[in-house]
């Protein structure tokens, strides 16, 4: 019987403990998945496949120097042991070529963490049948991704962490014959046929609105409601260096003026890195236990994400951030706007379901641009009137989440990452919707 991913990792760690005597030290991290990917176009399967992959990153530390090497595992104990030995040998040859690293920081704690969420995954044949039954007559396009994801970490100091979760993520859009579309997602660990059917039905119903004649807006300033998925795009941009200790210190953070107290956001804006209870591992890729952090509290900057290297360089205390110092479980505090009141409170303006392709117009000013995409509606006197053609916005976060933020919804949406670059991601965000008094449209 083939070894489980955990057993494979344990064998590698055991052999490393023998092969790396003090004063050398090592860390070994593990990342693996067995995924099924099924793409849809016109409600038919466009492309389908399975991917089984696992890799380790071995870091070797000696004489004040460090280097790391990532290698793919071959699902064969003998092959994997050989690759581990080759990696160790290459790193031993590399270290003497390096200068001592002044920012090397050893983590000598021997923490233990074990989390296995191995609920049975849905049978893909049943999923396909249900999608066909619920949307076979529609123009559905998207992807179903499912399977176990594993993350591991071990160190020569005795730390050992294992995180394994089975999950699925069906991310789809329904297209009207006029080219307009609505987007939806059903993700989690236990597939509920009824819950999925309800979600699909809600998406179908939104299609009716998309059939109305398009309203073309002129550039200008408009009241707007950003649904959680739209706000997630704004947050995604802020996560790109916004809370990073290194980016803040080197003036490459879009929130540098917030962190230097030269600017503030609305008192309604409170943002946390809420790892506990999320789907992310409780330990970072560097082997530090993650902390829950209050990044922004009532519009003021508080914590930042600090990895071990930044901690050494900027004389801060590491707090379990990954080496790239981006949030993995962002959570924004809710407000007092009831779901049933959204359109009424919006009055006349834009209901924006999703935003797309954001980037910075002026990074130090946190000014960003992007576009509406999927189900954006013109609302008058609290009633949806028409879908709106694609519009570009260009506005500052200090406006959207600052002076122009009117309310946040009481309900929040848990958004699980659909990103599959390199591997299926485990990050998530938990966000309300945002009502803003003024959003600047430019094109």
């Amino acid at each position: 019987m083939a070894a489980t991913p955990l057993q494979s990792f344990q064998h590698l760690v055991a052999s490393l403990r023998d092969a790396v005597p003090a004063p050398e030290h090592f860390t070994l991290s593990y990342s693996g998945e067995h995924s099924q990917f099924i793409r849809f176009n016109h409600a038919k399967v466009r492309q389908a496949g399975e991917v089984q992959q696992a890799s380790c990153v071995l870091k070797l530390i000696a004489d004040g120097r460090q280097a790391e090497l990532q290698f793919t595992l071959g699902n064969d104990a003998e092959v994997d042991q050989l690759r581990l030995q080759q990696a160790l040998e290459q790193l031993r040859q590399t270290l003497p070529l390096l200068e001592p690293d002044p920012y090397l920081q050893l983590n000598d704690s021997a923490w233990q963490s074990h989390s296995v969420q191995d609920q049975p995954l849905p049978d893909s044949a049943e999923v396909l049948a249900q999608i066909e039954q619920g949307a076979g007559d529609l123009d559905l396009v998207g992807i179903y991704a499912a399977g176990p994801i594993c993350r591991g970490f071990a160190s020569s100091f005795g730390a050992f962490g294992w995180h394994q979760a089975n999950s699925f993520n069906f991310d789809w859009s329904l297209f009207h014959s006029n080219g307009e579309a609505v987007k939806a997602n059903y993700a989690g660990q236990t597939w509920d046929h009824e819950a999925f059917a309800v979600r699909l039905q809600q998406t179908r119903e939104q299609l009716d609105y998309l059939g109305r004649p398009l309203k073309k807006l002129a550039p200008g300033q408009y009241r707007a409601y950003l649904a959680p998925a739209a706000l997630d795009e704004v947050m995604g941009m802020l996560c790109w260096g916004g809370f990073s200790a290194q980016a803040i210190a080197t003036k490459n953070s879009p929130l540098q003026r917030l962190y230097s107290a030269d600017a503030s956001l609305s008192p309604l804006t409170s943002i946390a890195e809420q790892v506990s209870g999320s789907l992310s591992p409780s330990f970072s890729d560097e082997g530090l236990l993650r902390s829950d952090l209050r990044l922004i509290d009532k519009g003021q900057a508080l914590d930042r994400l600090i990895c071990a290297r930044s901690a050494a360089e900027f004389e801060l205390a590491a707090n379990g951030a990954d080496s790239h110092e981006a949030p993995c479980a962002l959570s924004m505090a809710p407000g007092d706007l009831e779901h049933s009141e959204i359109l009424t409170r919006l009055g006349t303006g834009l209901y924006i379901s999703n935003l797309w392709y954001l980037n910075y117009s002026d990074l130090p000013a946190a000014r960003m641009t992007g576009l509406t995409r999927f189900a954006t509606f013109w609302v008058e006197n609290g009633e949806i009137q028409a879908p709106v053609s694609t519009m570009r916005f260009d506005d500052s976060v200090y406006s959207l989440l600052g002076s122009q933020l009117e309310a946040l919804t009481t309900d929040r949406e848990l958004i699980l990452s659909t990103s599959t670059y390199g591997q299926r991601q485990t990050s998530s965000s938990h966000l309300p919707g945002a009502l803003v008094k003024r959003l600047t449209l430019t094109l």
Binding site: E50, V51, T94, D101, D171, A181, Y357, D362, P364, T442
Partner: protein
């Protein structure tokens, strides 16, 4: 080189399948990422990756399974997984591929100068340290960073129609970046910024100008910090090659991808304002616009002999004298659409299936040297080095930002301006192309970071372009 060929041939020959066709694509990749930040060498990141994708066609349904287990049993298991999936989706598959031709080519392809040894890790660090140390002492210079990425890839493709295609390539990504800060505003200037990727060896470092870059890039960051904001208004716009590459990429490359036009990408990367019926009919730009798919420029990032489905790659015009003539569509898209395309079916590695991608997408040079381009502008602005990009899902409404701006008045270059941005609509923008630089203005550039596909993939793309002038474009600056 290609050491696994004999073993893979043997194992491929021993595979058993009930499918009418199957293939194996083996990919081995080694990478090094080295950097020196503020005169401190960062720990090197090294990687080695290998695995294979088995693709099977069973009763016209194609599916795949990717595995890093390259044993006979591992490959057979993957093939059987793919077959099982093909059976499962039969009846629900979008495409019937029984009539689609398969690749039969046999060829080897290598990057230029691949046989030449690359400088050692210690020598690379010494080069990066030297450039880092050349940044002058100035309290406003708060961050700087010299980096070098080296990636070597071997790929072997085998199929049951007898194809055997081998590629060995080396990609080099030099870079230098400096940030200046005055207490309120910060400005970053870069060389490379992952846009100067090329195939080759030490010659790439020599061509990109990394040697001697430290002091120059730092000086330009300080100039930007002192510069006024870009004025708002309509001006003629002179784009240098390191912004042209982004302009080509986003507003010509992506809209011409046939899988987008066929709707595959509508849930993620998006669709296109171009329709299948536009090929041969749509005047995409002014008559000065000539765009090619060109895999023959040896140092360009996406030069190759065959794509990842085994189609032979040749130079083709996609836009000729402004007229749209051919899409970026590989063998499958050509089969689906009935249009002639190019060999651009590509995957990022062994664990992702090939889809339509850009490869080398270039603008052919015109007849004007840079001085003449500038001399022909009454009121304009020169922009170089992309730093911000945003475009709608149909690849039409765009807004791009650059690091460096310089005003042009009455045919002469004037002062530096910061935060240069411009916006437009693809379907109209290329019609405003009013002058194209000659070969002396052309640069061969490329990036490793083009994202697309479900599941997601990033691939290398090359863009060679001369400097180009666009008339009457909406430009503007930042807040600070």
């Amino acid at each position: 080189m290609f050491e696994l060929t004999a073993l893979l041939r043997q194992r491929f020959a021993a595979l058993r399948s009930s499918g009418e066709f199957f293939s194996l694509r083996y990919v081995q990749q080694s990478q090094q990422h080295l950097s020196v930040r503020k005169n401190i060498a960062e720990p090197p990141f090294l990687s080695r990756d290998e695995g294979a994708m088995l693709t099977v066609r069973l009763n016209g349904v194609e599916t795949y399974a990717a595995t890093a287990d390259l044993s006979q049993a591992g490959l057979q298991r993957a093939l059987e997984q793919a077959e099982a999936l093909a059976r499962q989706i039969a009846g629900r598959a979008l495409l019937d591929l029984r009539e689609q031709p398969v690749a039969t080519g046999r060829a080897d392809y290598c990057s230029p100068n691949l046989e030449q040894a690359f400088p050692s890790l210690a020598e690379c660090y010494a080069l990066l340290a030297q450039e880092s140390a050349s940044v002058p002492s100035d309290s406003r210079l708060v961050n700087w960073h010299a980096s070098l990425g080296i990636s070597t890839i071997e790929q072997i493709y085998l199929n049951t129609a007898g194809a055997e295609l081998r590629q060995a390539q080396r990609f080099i990504y030099p870079g230098f970046s400096t940030t200046a800060f005055d207490g309120q505003d910060s400005q970053t200037r870069t060389l490379g910024r992952e846009n100067f990727g090329q195939q080759g060896g030490l010659d790439v470092i020599e061509r990109c100008g990394l040697v001697g870059a430290g002091a120059k890039v730092a000086d330009q960051a300080l100039q930007l910090l002192l510069a006024p904001n870009t004025p708002s208004g309509v001006r003629d716009l002179l784009l240098m090659p390191d912004q042209m590459m982004l302009q080509i990429h986003e507003s010509i490359g992506h809209p011409l991808e046939m899988d987008r036009i066929l709707g595959d990408e509508r849930n993620y990367a998006g669709t296109s304002f171009v329709k299948a019926s536009d090929f041969g009919n749509l005047q995409y730009g002014s008559k000065l616009l000539n765009v090619t798919f060109d895999p023959s420029i040896r140092e360009e990032l996406a030069s190759y002999s065959h794509d990842d489905d085994g189609s032979a790659a040749h130079k083709q015009f996609l836009i000729k004298d402004g007229l749209l003539v051919r899409p970026l569509g590989g063998a499958l898209s050509q089969f689906r659409s009935g249009l002639e395309g190019v060999a651009n079916s590509r995957a990022c590695g062994w664990n992702r299936a090939p889809i339509d991608r850009m490869a080398n997408l270039n603008i052919e040079p015109g007849d004007k040297p840079l001085a003449q381009l500038i001399g022909g502008i009454e009121q304009g602005i020169l922009m170089r080095t992309n730093r911000s990009w945003s475009i709608d899902d149909a690849r039409n409404k765009f807004q791009f930002g650059c690091e460096w701006g310089q005003l042009i008045e009455n045919g002469e270059l004037k002062g530096v301006v910061k935060n240069p941005n411009y916006r437009g609509i693809s379907a109209q923008f290329w019609g405003n192309l009013s002058a194209v630089g000659d070969a002396s203005t052309l640069q061969v550039l490329g990036t490793p970071n083009c994202g697309k596909g479900e599941p997601n993939q990033v691939v290398r793309v090359g863009h060679a372009s001369p400097a180009c002038v666009f008339s009457q474009i909406d430009v503007f600056g930042g807040d600070a």
